[in-house]
């Protein structure tokens, strides 16, 4: 079963799940959880292109998520821009910042790269906290509803439709990229930068492009999430959120698009189930993180796929 057809199978399965879910979800609270999972999954897929496929680390991607959310919110509420335009402008601004920072940052390796991206995320959060005139400061700010080509997206059902469509599209696109020359060049960089050089890959340029791509995906989802929740605080750009995103990628499975979706499902559901633990949630969350990384270093999906293949062989 070569890689390509297993992905089309995966895509069909995902489409089927997304279509049938509405029949099963009892009330809008479950829609809300599904929407948050979809948003996290798309950001995780984008981040996986950077971490899993190209082998670069980013501990600050929530910064781009927060930047997208706030740029959209400020442009649409304080300057009256139509929300679709604000979303694109936000993505453009995030792309610009990512481009500016990517060149020097991506020269770094391993822990230094982790440190630089971590620092970047925290700087973004501190700026969002201090520039209260624009961002409303630590208490956050309200975000007007999303208007897409005249249609105001309101209510869980329409938001579920939008987010499910975006998730399906990004999954399809990511699978395409992985099997396209560009995707192979990224994976070659992760495999061996020297081999990539030897076949003519401009390693730095490719790293920058995938860094900007994953930043833009995070920004767009930040904007969508801001319009959906209706209120944002600087915390969404914080270190804790960045770590959750990285954990989704790694727990789901590095270099596995569907792994990122599984990772997003697990990490988004966990707080809901741990909420009944009265005070012990932090301990439980820490234990689950450690257990998953120790027993499943390769991630859920690759381990299951290996189990499947070994079982079938």
């Amino acid at each position: 079963m070569n890689k390509f057809s297993s992905s089309t199978l995966g895509l069909l399965a995902l489409a089927a799940v997304l279509l049938c879910l509405p029949l099963v979800l009892p009330n809008t609270f479950y829609y809300d959880v599904a929407i948050r999972i979809a948003i996290n999954a798309v950001v995780a897929i984008g981040l996986n292109l950077l971490i899993g496929y190209t082998g670069q680390i980013s501990l600050g991607h929530a910064g781009f998520f927060g930047l997208g959310a706030y740029a959209s919110a400020v442009l649409s509420s304080r300057y009256g821009w139509p929300s679709a335009l604000a979303l694109l402008a936000a993505a453009g601004a995030t792309a610009l910042l990512a481009l500016l920072v990517a060149r020097p940052v991506l020269r770094l390796k391993g822990h230094y790269l982790a440190m630089a991206t971590l620092g970047l995320g925290i700087i973004i959060m501190i700026v969002l906290t201090n520039e209260a005139a624009f961002t409303g400061g630590p208490d956050g700010m309200a975000v007007p509803p999303l208007v897409l080509f005249g249609w105001e997206v309101s209510g869980e059902k329409s938001w579920y439709a939008v987010c499910a469509a975006v998730l399906l599209f990004i999954t399809w696109a990511a699978v395409n990229l992985i099997n396209a020359p560009g995707g192979r060049a990224l994976q070659a960089i992760h495999g061996s930068e020297i081999a990539a050089f030897a076949v003519g890959v401009d390693v730095t340029a490719m790293k920058i492009r995938v860094f900007v791509l994953s930043a833009v995906i995070a920004s767009v989802m930040g904007s969508l999430s801001a319009h959906y929740v209706g209120f944002i605080t600087p915390g969404i750009a914080g270190f804790q959120h960045s770590i959750e995103l990285v954990t989704m990628v790694v727990l789901g499975g590095m270099a596995s698009v569907f792994g990122s979706i599984v990772g997003a499902v697990l990490l988004t559901l966990l707080p809901q189930f741990l909420s009944t633990l009265e005070g012990w949630e932090t301990v439980a969350f820490g234990l689950v993180l450690m257990a998953s990384m120790i027993f499943l270093p390769k991630g859920v999906v690759p381990t299951l796929r290996a189990r499947l293949r070994r079982g079938a062989a």
Binding site: P26, N27, T28, F29, Y30, D32, V33, R36, T129, N130, A132, G137, P138, D139, G140, A142, S225, V229, G230, F231, I232, T233, G235, I236, Q240, L266, L269, L270, P271, Q272, F273, L274, S275, T276, L277, E278, G279, E281, T282, A284, L287, V288, A291, S292, F295, L296, T303, A306, R307
Partner: protein
């Protein structure tokens, strides 16, 4: 993949996912609570949750309200507004609660506001910022004093002592920044000019740099510190360390014995607006709030061997206000409870006397605050 490790992992995950989900039954009055019991605002939410749990248990022993048991469904938003929004939706849509006591922080309250307004369910917030009730929102009420009231109470006292050039040192937290905004707004009303305006981080461990800058401002007569938690205590100790003689005012954020314990002797002479709870024993015998605050202090001490905090008092008032409205409305119909809440007048709580109206969803006036000063290590009431 060794068999043993896969089974161990499956155990961890099934344990996490198979936790018992609260049983649903029709009768009880279901009170939904979203509080920050972990994260930076954890020490505010923790006493709030404990107060709700203690009093709900007590009320259930006395037969509940309107013959119906009370049931508390609580989620911790870990001081994150996004999580508060998600849990509010869970309470409204899934747990189908009758009314909400939610929002330890202003950010959390505002994140839940759009949901509550759309779903049409009363929410009593426990956060301080004036933006929660200004402009008035149909379904949202709040029990804590606003930061604007605190600033006004402080400026009243400063004017009485003839201070007109005052410095402001505020915390870059929600509470600190909205307090600073209100302070800047009301300053002119009391003929006071802010000659210094500095900030410090909620978890800062040293503010001598900022204080040295403030001390250098010519003609400065007093300093107002707007923050809560450990920050104001660090500022108070640093001021003493620098030998600053500048009269120091704090916000109601630190009106608790914890502040005395942290600041130690450096707190001598510090003044702040404080709810009655802090000076319960030195209230006049005929003071209407005395019985309420003394019994709350006693109940909390018996249960947790700890002094109640003003933030716990906000939760108690929210609970009693909510139940009072349900009794007045004769049931848990949301619209009826909302109207009853809005018509609550002359209701005595630990925070003060609530006189709600269609335009004022808090109902407290400056009399709810008492000016106190730290004299030889304890609070003393100023009148």
């Amino acid at each position: 993949m060794k068999k043993r490790t896969l089974i161990a992992l499956a155990a961890v995950w099934t344990a996490a996912l198979a936790l018992p989900v609260a049983a649903q039954n029709k009768d009880p009055i279901r009170i939904g609570a979203v509080l920050s019991t972990t994260g930076p605002a954890g020490y505010l939410g923790d006493p709030q949750l404990k107060t709700l749990q203690t009093y709900i248990a007590q009320l259930n022993q006395d037969g509940g309200v309107l013959g119906r048991k009370l049931e508390l469904v609580h989620y911790d938003d870990a001081s994150e507004a996004g999580k508060a929004n998600g849990f509010a939706k869970r309470l409204i849509d899934d747990d189908k609660v009758d009314f909400l006591i939610a929002g330890t922080t202003t950010g959390a309250t505002m994140a839940m506001a759009p949901l509550v307004e759309k779903a049409g369910i009363p929410l009593i917030s426990l956060s301080g910022a004036v933006v929660v009730v200004e402009p008035v929102k149909k379904w949202i009420f709040k029990t804590p004093h606003t930061d604007r009231m605190a600033a006004e109470k402080v400026f009243e006292d400063m004017k009485r002592r003839g201070f007109s050039k005052v410095g402001l040192l505020s915390e870059t937290s929600g509470f600190g920044q909205s307090g600073a905004k209100e302070t800047r707004l009301v300053a002119q009303k009391y003929g006071i000019t802010l000659v210094a305006d500095e900030t410090y981080g909620p978890k800062d461990t040293d503010t001598t740099a900022q204080l040295t800058k403030i001390r250098g401002v010519a003609g400065i007569q007093a300093l107002l510190v707007f923050g809560l938690g450990q920050g104001p205590a660090v500022v108070t100790k640093n001021a003493a360390q620098l030998g600053m003689k500048l009269p120091l005012y704090q916000s109601h954020g630190v009106a608790s014995n914890e502040f005395l314990k942290l600041a130690g002797p450096a707190a001598e002479g510090v003044r702040m607006p404080s709810p009655a709870l802090l000076v319960a024993n030195s209230l006049a015998a005929n003071d209407p709030q005395r019985p309420l605050v003394t019994s709350y202090a006693a109940t909390y001490w018996k249960q947790y061997k700890d002094e109640p905090s003003t933030f716990g008092g906000y939760a108690l008032d929210a609970l009693t206000l909510g139940l009072h409205a349900i009794k007045a409305a004769g049931g848990t119909n949301k619209e009826a409870v909302r109207n009853a809440l809005e018509k609550t007048r002359g209701f005595m709580g630990t925070t003060g006397q609530f006189n709600m109206s269609a335009t004022d969803h808090m109902g407290l006036d400056l009399s709810a605050f008492r000016m106190v000063e730290v004299k030889n290590g304890t609070w003393s009431l100023l009148n």
